[in-house]
C-alpha cells in the first residue's frame, strides 16, 4: 500500500523542513547552549525561560504571533516562514539537552586544556565540542523528530499549499477531515515508524557515552 503522490510530496517536504530546521538549530544552539551552561550573567535565566516557552505555550499562540509578525514581510505561507517557526518551536528540544551536556563537561577538562597551552577557541573546538558530541547528536535527532510532528504553528503560518507548506501533519489532518482513513493510516504509520527509528539512536548514544566516560 504505497503512499499517494501527494502524500509523498508532503513527506519529502516535511523531511526537508526538519533537516533545514535541525541544521539551523545546531548552529544556533552550539554557542547559545555554551553560553547558558557557562555564563553567570543574570539575563541567562530570561533567555532560558524564552527558549523553554514552546514547551508550555500552545503552538497556536506562537503561530498566531508569528502570523502577525510575518504579515508585513511576505513570510506567511512560505517555506522560509515555516523554517523560522520550526526553529523557534523546536528550539528547547535542542538547546536544553545541549546545555545539560555542556554543563556536564564541567570546568576541569577546559582548565586542563588551558594549562597545556590551548587558546580559548581551540579549547572549545577540541575539548568542549567533542565532549558534548553524543549530546549534540541526540539533541539534533530530538529537534529533527520534533519538527516532523509540528502542527499548530504550521496551521497558523503555513496553510496548506502542496509542495510548499503542506506538511505530513497537515496532510494527515486533511485525510481525517475528509474521512480518508486508509490514507491517514499510511501517513500516520510513516511518521510513527520514522520517529521510532530516529529516537532509538538517541538512547543508544546516551548509553555509549555513559559507558565510555563515566565508568
Amino acid at each position: 500500500m504505497p503512499l499517494s503522490a501527494d502524500d509523498w510530496q508532503s513527506l519529502l517536504l516535511t523531511l526537508r523542513l526538519a533537516a533545514a530546521t535541525t541544521v539551523t538549530l545546531v548552529l544556533l544552539a552550539l554557542p547559545l547552549s555554551w553560553w547558558l551552561a557557562r555564563s553567570r550573567h543574570p539575563l541567562r535565566h530570561v533567555v532560558e525561560a524564552l527558549v523553554a516557552l514552546p514547551l508550555v505555550l500552545p503552538p497556536t499562540v506562537i503561530g498566531f504571533y508569528l502570523l502577525l509578525l510575518f504579515a508585513g514581510h511576505g513570510l506567511n505561507f512560505t517555506f522560509t516562514g515555516l523554517l523560522i517557526g520550526s526553529v523557534l518551536y523546536s528550539m528547547p528540544f535542542v538547546v536544553q539537552p545541549l546545555t545539560q551536556a555542556f554543563t556536564a563537561v564541567g570546568v576541569r577538562p577546559l582548565q586542563l586544556a588551558a594549562v597545556l597551552g590551548a587558546p580559548p577557541l581551540q579549547r572549545w573546538w577540541r575539548v568542549a565540542v567533542p565532549l558534548v558530541l553524543p549530546g549534540l547528536i541526540s539533541a539534533a535527532l530530538l529537534g529533527f523528530t520534533h519538527t516532523l510532528g509540528e502542527f499548530g504553528v504550521v496551521l497558523m503560518i503555513g496553510g496548506n499549499i502542496p509542495g510548499v507548506t503542506r506538511l505530513v501533519s497537515i496532510a494527515l489532518y486533511e485525510h481525517v477531515e475528509t474521512m480518508q482513513y486508509a490514507d491517514a493510516h499510511r501517513l500516520a504509520l510513516c511518521l510513527l515508524l520514522l520517529s521510532v527509528l530516529l529516537m532509538t539512536p538517541v538512547y543508544v548514544m546516551l548509553r555509549r557515552w555513559q559507558m565510555r566516560y563515566l565508568t
Binding site: 576541569r108 577538562p109 586544556a113 594549562v115 597551552g117 587558546p119 575539548v127 565510555r212 566516560y213
Partner: protein, 202 residues
C-alpha cells in the same frame, strides 16, 4: 632578565609571598584546607587573585597585567590527575605537545621517552577512564612535562603511587628539577626535604 621566581598574592583574608630559586624542587606544605590547591590554581592563572607572579623573567601577572592560563606555560598536575576524557593517553600526549612553545629554556622530554620512563607504553591506546589512580597520575605528569612548562606545579603527585613507581617518579622529578623550577604539594615533606631547595608553608 632576572632569574628566579617571585610570588606575592593577596587574598581577602591572607597573603602568600615567597621568592624561589630559578630551578629546583620547592615543597609546598600545609594542613588540609589551608589553600595549597587554590594557590597552585592561582599560579597557573585558572583563578584571578590580585598580586604579582614572576617566573624567570616572565611576568605572569602584576598590578596591571594578568596573563591568561594558556600563555603562562605552567605545568600544573591537578590533584585528581586530570586528563582529557575524550582522548586516549597517546592523544592526550599529542594534545599536550601541540602547544609546547619554542622559547621554553629546556626542551621538554618527548612523549615516547616519558611514556617509557613512566611505564605507560601499554596504556597508550586506553581512555583515561580505564586507568587506575596511579596510572592516571603518571600520565598526567607526562602530559604536563611534554607541554614545555616554565614551572611545574604538582598537586600531591606521589599520593596515589606504589613504592616502586614512586621511586621512578621521584627520580624523574629530581632530574627535571635540574632544568626547571618545581613546586610540589606534599603531606610528607621529610622524604623529599633533602632534595628541596626551598619550602613554602601555608
Amino acid at each position: 632578565m632576572s632569574d628566579g621566581i617571585v610570588i606575592d598574592l593577596q587574598w581577602p583574608s591572607r597573603r602568600v609571598a615567597a621568592e624561589l630559586p630559578a630551578r629546583g624542587l620547592c615543597l609546598l606544605t600545609g594542613a588540609s584546607g589551608a589553600g595549597k590547591s587554590t594557590l597552585l590554581h592561582a599560579l597557573a592563572g585558572l583563578v584571578r587573585v590580585p598580586g604579582a607572579v614572576r617566573v624567570n623573567g616572565h611576568t605572569w601577572q602584576d598590578a596591571k597585567h594578568f596573563l591568561p592560563a594558556h600563555l603562562r606555560r605552567a605545568g600544573l598536575v591537578f590533584q585528581e590527575a586530570s586528563l582529557l576524557p575524550h582522548l586516549t593517553i597517546a592523544a592526550n600526549f599529542r594534545f599536550a605537545g601541540a602547544y609546547a612553545t619554542e622559547d621554553v629554556g629546556a626542551a621538554p622530554p618527548s612523549a615516547p621517552e616519558l611514556a617509557e620512563r613512566l611505564g605507560l607504553q601499554a596504556l597508550l591506546a586506553q581512555y583515561p577512564s580505564r586507568l587506575s589512580g596511579g596510572e592516571r597520575m603518571r600520565a598526567a605528569l607526562a602530559c604536563a612535562l611534554a607541554s614545555g612548562p616554565r614551572w611545574m606545579l604538582l598537586d600531591e603527585p606521589l599520593a596515589a603511587l606504589d613504592e616502586a613507581t614512586r621511586r621512578r617518579v621521584v627520580d624523574l622529578l629530581l632530574e627535571q628539577a635540574r632544568k626547571l623550577p618545581l613546586l610540589l604539594v606534599t603531606h610528607y615533606p621529610d622524604e623529599l626535604a633533602a632534595h628541596a631547595v626551598a619550602r613554602i608553608r601555608l
